[in-house]
């Protein structure tokens, strides 16, 4: 299934960094995540807050997209809607061709299992499970037995081969986030959502985590969406969306942290 009319409504697509809108629509498999006219209001009547005011976008397979914006710009809301954690007030979301806004809770949960991986700011590991058990948790929940070779490879990749039997309380923050990244990748999801993955880490550890995320995109073609307010983090992205006041205000291709900051300032000032 292809998002009807998605291509026509894409906002802010720049010819320099992405295929022309019409092409994107024709090559549906490329648009692994798509939205059309996405709005999200909180509350009703006069006190209603319009967190998103109509966002249409398409994200290509195998790319790392960063979503930036000042606080209150709607970037977290957007991510939650894309990941099926929240429901839009209007508009639709497609993940890998499935219109997730039409799904019930159980189907949505099962879709998250198969298609979506998460990396959270506060790691959110289960304290009573070992690092390895935490990594395979999404597979356990789905009742699938983990592929030994793939799990070993992942754990080695994130540099925790020596610590696979350790519990989260015995790991540093950076190590915990590595576990979380492995957990997000283990089910080979269609898309990984990372919510401020470096928000709770020092700058050196942040660098390591970003390298890992970038590495997953390059090595496995892992489509990734990262919400961040850290310009350094955004600098590893293939594409950077700037949100302001519930709309996509600006968009950049691969940029330096300096350019990102400038763009952010520009967006905030408007």
């Amino acid at each position: 299934m292809r998002p009807a009319g998605a291509g026509a409504n894409v906002v802010g697509m720049s010819e320099a960094i992405a295929a022309p809108a019409a092409d994107v629509a024709d090559q549906a498999p490329q648009a692994v995540v798509a939205t059309s006219g996405l709005t999200r209001d909180y509350g009703e009547g006069d006190t209603a807050v319009h967190a998103l005011r109509g966002v249409s976008l398409e994200l290509s397979r195998g790319k790392l997209t960063a979503v930036m914006g000042p606080s209150g710009s709607g970037k977290s809301t957007l991510m939650h809607l894309l990941a099926g954690l929240d429901r839009p007030t209007s508009g639709d979301v497609w993940i890998d061709g499935t219109q997730i806004t039409a799904l019930g809770d159980t189907e949505l949960t099962k879709l998250r299992r198969r298609h979506i991986g998460f990396v959270f700011q506060f790691f959110n590991l289960l304290p009573m499970l070992t690092a390895e058990e935490n990594v395979v948790l999404p597979l356990s929940l789905a009742g699938r037995s983990p592929e030994r070779k793939w799990v070993d490879e992942l754990i080695a990749e994130v540099g925790l081969a020596e610590r696979r039997k350790h519990r989260p309380s015995e790991l540093s923050g950076g190590q915990q986030q590595r576990v979380a990244i492995a957990r997000a990748l283990v089910s080979r999801p269609t898309v990984v959502f990372a919510d401020e993955p470096t928000g709770n880490l020092d700058s050196q550890t942040s660098g390591e985590i970003l390298t890992l995320l970038r590495g997953a995109v390059d090595a496995y073609g892992q489509t990734t969406v990262m919400v961040t307010h850290d310009a350094t983090a955004a600098a590893i992205a293939d594409r950077i969306l700037f949100l302001a006041d519930g709309r996509i205000a600006k968009e950049l291709g691969p940029s330096s942290a300096h350019d990102v900051l400038a763009a952010l300032e520009d967006v905030s000032r408007r």
């Binding site: 939650h80 990941a83 954690l85 929240d86 809770d105 159980t106 949960t109 099962k110 998250r112 299992r113 991986g117 998460f118 959270f120 506060f122 959110n124 289960l126 304290p127 009573m128 499970l129 948790l137 999404p138 356990s140 929940l141 789905a142 009742g143 957990r183 089910s187």
Partner: protein
Amino acid sequence: MIGVALKGIAGRKLRAALTTLAIVLGVAMVSGTFVFTDTMEKAIDTLFTDAYTGSDAVVSAKDVVDLAAGETSRPTVPAALLDGVKALPQVEAASGAIIDVARLIDDNGKPISTREGAVGFSIEADQPRFNPLKLVEGRWPAGSQQIAIDPDTASNGFAVGDTIGVATRGPLRRFTISGIAEFTSVDAGGALTLAIFDPPTAQDLFGKTGRFDEILVSAQDGVSQEQLVQAIEPILPADAEVATGKAEVATQSKGSNEDIALIRKFMLAFGGLALFVGAFVIFNTLSTTVAQRTRELATLRTLGASRRQVLGSVVLESLVVGAVGSTIGLILGPALAKGLNALFVAAGQNLPQTGARIETRTVVVSLLVGVLITVLAGLFPALRATSVPPISAVREGTLPRSALAPYASYIAGAMIVLGAGLLAYGMFASGLSVTWVLILLAIGCLVLFVGVALISSRLVKPLAWFLAWPAARAAGAAGRLARDNSVRNPARTAVTASALMIGLALVTFVAVLGKGLQDSMGEAVESAVRADYVVNGPITPDVGNALASHATISSVRQDAARAFGSDVSVGGVDPSTIAKAMSFEWDQGSFAELGPDGAVLQREFADDHHLRVGSALRVQTPQGNQLELEVRGIYSPPKFDPILAPILVSQQSFDAAFERPQDVLVLVDGASASTLERALKPFPEAELQTKAQFTADRQKEIKDTLSLLYVLLALSIVVSLFGMVNTVALSVFERTRELGMLRAIGMTRRQARRMVRHESVITALIGAALGLPLGIFLAALVTRGLADEGVAFSLPLVPLVVFTLIALGAGLVAAALPARRASHLNVLEALQYE
């Protein structure tokens, strides 16, 4: 600080409510017991006061033997004495009364009255001053065909003018209902049925022609009760006595008041047990609260709160919970008293009731006990709270380990040993009074329970691992996570499971011991009774005579008597038939030489009084007759239920010595059930039983007691259930963010629900895994102690399976709401939850 404590409670409403409930039930049981027994006491007191209303003195026969009223042949006084009393100048009026047992029988031959509550007596209609009853309808009975009955019986479809059957151990007789009457001030509440006759009819019906059970006397004006008694005394024969009306009421109600006091203690014990379990729940909740408030408490300390103030704030919290819970419990008491009454009625114990009595003592004791237990249970967590250092305010701090923690295992071990020791001492030490044995057993149990609860935090992990195996298999990841969650806070799981353990251990104990008692009873009957059928007494010998023409019978008379200065039952048997109908394991002699002056004794009785074949023995009947006997045989009956009386004499000697002989048992052989039923038609009181039915009948009392105990113990299981709800709700609450993450990465609502449910079930099963073996151990210990009484140990598998299922069910019930909360969690909000 007071404000902080109160706001703390307000902020944790669900927890406070569940904790409060934990104490409510125990206090309700305590206050309900008081209300129930006080009301009963008052009712019985009123009943007897009414019965002797207008009697300044009561003349009756001296009791040679201490007989339960109406149970056997109570001695009587000659009717002629009434004229002598009436002739005294101090006497204004006197009336002769007959009081006996008379069951009312409906048109289908079914008894309306219970055996215990079937009262038959005489009323002299023209002497209203002695009459405790008032007519509701019709007239007082007059003449040999008339009867008056109570309104409860009348409500079964009997009206004035109808006929109703009356069974008095003899053949059924029918009377015409002349009136309906009830006690003036007490509602017998269906506890009693009344069969009222005029005195000559009653004398005839109960075989007391020319006799009275009592002579009620009222004094002339100006003559005191004491003066009246002094005036009557000189004219009495040697075997009669006289008491003032007041003294008679006191004597009569004393027996029932003692019974009520026993019931009160018995039920208070269950109230205490519910409070004990409640204490576990309170301890657990407050411990959790303190642990969660570590940072808050530390902040208070940095702001200048002293240790004493911190202690005070936690103690205050338990004080408020205790006071609120106790007040609610107190208010619920009278309602529970009604329930208790219904429970006793269901268990076959009808008790008279009047308006609910709420004494000051009830209020004071209930509130005091409830508050005290809550505060005591909260003291330990409160002391822990004072050990929170101010530095925890700024550091990610957990509660410092208790100073006693390293010794917990030793303390637990010591308590288990001490508890088991007290139990063993109570069971096996000789020369202890029953009260002491019970006290030792109770304290032993409590100490043992606390000991096991203390050590159980160490057992939680292995037990959870084992018990969660099916959950992990059935529910996959959700089951495994449930298992891991259940051991994340072993101490909390342990205390929660221990609260359930107590109730389960006690029901298991009751079930196992009850099975042992029932089996022992069954074996006793099996080994002793040879006859195919049995008619259970007490019944008139006419029944045996009626059966004798159709079948081979052997009847056994029985009555109370005195020998060696104490009361003892004496049986009258036919030596030529009894040995065929029953088995005897002879130590010495046999029935062969019984003769008119011989006696056969049970081994224990013979040993107690150093008697052997050839020894002489003197027995006194309730009527004062002396029987000079010689021991001709000694046998060993089944220990648990000897069935027959310790002293057996020949039936001829028995009938000669005892007034109105009754058969306690008729053993029947050699005829079909239908033939026998036909022969028994005129005797509605006589029920033909097969050996199995006879056994079941004798086991019934044990079964009824078991059911009563189950219901009372269910109370403490319900209390532990509140604790489980609390714990499960807390763990869901604490892990909100974790649940959000799990839902985000692919846990379905169903899986979330199952995870919570399994965790709760695992906790409950840990309770069962601790409680069942503990209960079996206790039962084994007590059975061992009762081995001399012929009690054998026997494991009832069905109840044990049922109890495990109950634990499982408790786990599911406790998880219902928390599981719902977990599955309906808003994933986004949960992820942002701190």
